[in-house]
């Protein structure tokens, strides 16, 4: 199996993700780790809630990995996304890509996170000290 796509409610495990993609034919692994930031445009963020339309989110992440294997010479691709309530410094997303050469690993990893942010039906709500907002929902 060359892809590992999961939506999880428990904390994500960076080392387990790296261990999963490592393979003898690969000369490099590129990992993107998303983390919860403590502020947005100067407003202090208290926590985030992530919600997913699960079957479609899995299906859209599968589409992204199919595109990645068509476009880049990569060996193994992992996408883990967390849902539920996350605190500052928690990890909502890990993307790990193993490839024979680093160019493909970097490019594929970037393609995956950029596309995920545009197409995968997952939503985050930011909680501030004085209110809350669904990110990007209104102009």
């Amino acid at each position: 199996m060359k892809t590992n796509i999961q939506l999880l409610t428990e904390p994500l495990n960076v080392q387990a993700c790296v261990d999963w993609v490592i393979s003898p034919g690969c000369g490099g692994i590129d990992v993107f780790i998303g983390t919860v930031r403590n502020q947005t445009k100067g407003r202090t963020v208290v926590k985030l809630d992530f919600e997913a339309y699960k079957p479609m989110a899995i299906s859209e992440m599968n589409k992204i990995t199919e595109q990645v294997f068509e476009q880049f010479p990569v060996e193994k691709v992992l996408i883990h996304h967390r849902t539920g309530t996350l605190q500052i410094g928690d990890i909502p997303v890990i993307i790990a890509v193993a490839a024979a050469h680093r160019d493909a690993a970097f490019s594929a990893c970037r393609y995956i996170i950029d596309t995920l942010k545009q197409t995968v039906p997952i939503w985050k709500k930011e909680y501030f000290e004085d209110g809350e907002v669904w990110v990007g929902a209104t102009p």
């Binding site: 479609m56 942010k117 197409t119 039906p121 709500k125 669904w134 990007g136 209104t138």
Partner: protein, 80 residues
Amino acid sequence: MKVTVLAFGIAKDIFGASSVEVEIPGDTTAARLKAVLEQNYPRLSKLASYMLAVNNEYAGDDMHIKTGDEIALIPPVSGG
């Protein structure tokens, strides 16, 4: 016919529920369903954008809705 529309993110706040039932004419397109939803829930038209998904796929405006389809309202996504 009656269809159920699943709601996520801000759409849940707008519907006041995680799904709503809507009565639409038979042989309706995604675009017509969006128009009916916007009539019932005017705040939808204030979103930055939104899409409908039919059976877990983004639906173009001319996609036909059939009885039993799983329909979801997808406000702007913000994962990652």
